[in-house]
Amino acid sequence: MSSSSIRVGLPVNEELDGGQAGALAAVALALRRDLTLAFRRPAQLLQPLAFFALVTMLFPLAISPQLAQLRLVAPGALWAGALLASLLALDFLFRDDAQDGTLEQYLLSGQSLTALLFAKTAAHWLLTGLPLALMTPLAAVSLGAPASALAAIVAAVLLGTLTLSLLGSIGAGLTLNIRRSSALLSLLTLPLSLPVLIFGARATQQAIAGAAVLAPLELLAALAVLGVTLAPLAAAAAVRISLE
């Protein structure tokens, strides 16, 4: 049954009823809303980025400035940093919206909750994953990666953080009404993120060694596609349960 048939028999104010917003319009609006909100509070955005920068820049100081040794630990340091930074950012993915009732209104909007949560996750990735990827060249260079490896490493981080945001949306949905849930959220999300860590580090290692990077990159891309198709569905189900 369409929404219009439910309104049958109700002489509503014609001038007001501009018609139901399309799904795409709703998604675009949800995305814009989250971006607007984030830029009103830039400190929240900078925290995971500062964390990533610190981790990757402290490693060369702590280990050794020798290039050969640095390159050995570079993939691990880079990806552990990226993984933890995106975990740090997950905390505020749904929390505020659940507390002030926005998610409830999303659920009651007559739009697809899956689509709206996908928009939220996309905004989250644009605000955390994308800047992380943009910072990666700096971090990679400080870990001794050659300039020729940077393109592949950035591509890997782009794909990897996308999957991490999507996986995180499931965990964040499940832990919505658990107070101080950061630890639980990490426990839920970390095991699922290990493939990203492994393939991401592998791609980085290959890129630094000047070997073929296509295989691990393709695996990362496959994970991202899987995430885009399935994670929003799971996140929507998780949010529905959490809001009950």
């Binding site: 109700l10 139901q20 609006l29 949800a30 009651l108 007559g110």
Partner: protein
Amino acid sequence: MLEVESLHLWRGERHVLRGVGFVLSAGQCLQVTGPNGAGKTSLLRTLAGLIYPESGQVRWGGRDVRADLRAFHAGLAYLGHEPPLKADLTARENLRFWIGNRQRVSAKQLAAALTRVGAEGFADRLVRTLSAGQRRRVALAALTLLPVALWLLDEPATNLDAEGQRLVAALLSEQLARGGLAVAALHHELPGTLGVVQALELAA
């Protein structure tokens, strides 16, 4: 027509709703009363399809609302006891994002709605700087923008001054006059006459 049949709801160990049932026709309002913790909010959330009851059914237009929740939600406005507003957005932006998710809305309509609830003076201030009563007015502005058949209101007049209470009453009677339905958890009588009001008292 909203038909509710013997709803039973458990929250943990508590049997919150014990066989709640009623029939509400077009142009009628159901006033839900009861002491704190009697389950008024639970009832409204169950009607909205946010909570699944252990047994019983909610029917809208003769059909179980669970059959197509999204279509049901498109014809429903739910106002919880906290206005769903973002502290870091202005009142106008909040309204635009909230309503825009559901239907096309123009800047003129937004302005008209904000004026209607007496919020034009603070429409462009961040919600974090607004008082509880002012936030409530912004939430009411959302109601005036949603041309839907069923309103579920949880304490819609909380934090409002006398003039605000009259506004809630006026909005409700308009909704009923145009054939809409409303279920409202109301502690206090609203000023003026609302038209056809049924009462449902929940025991603690």
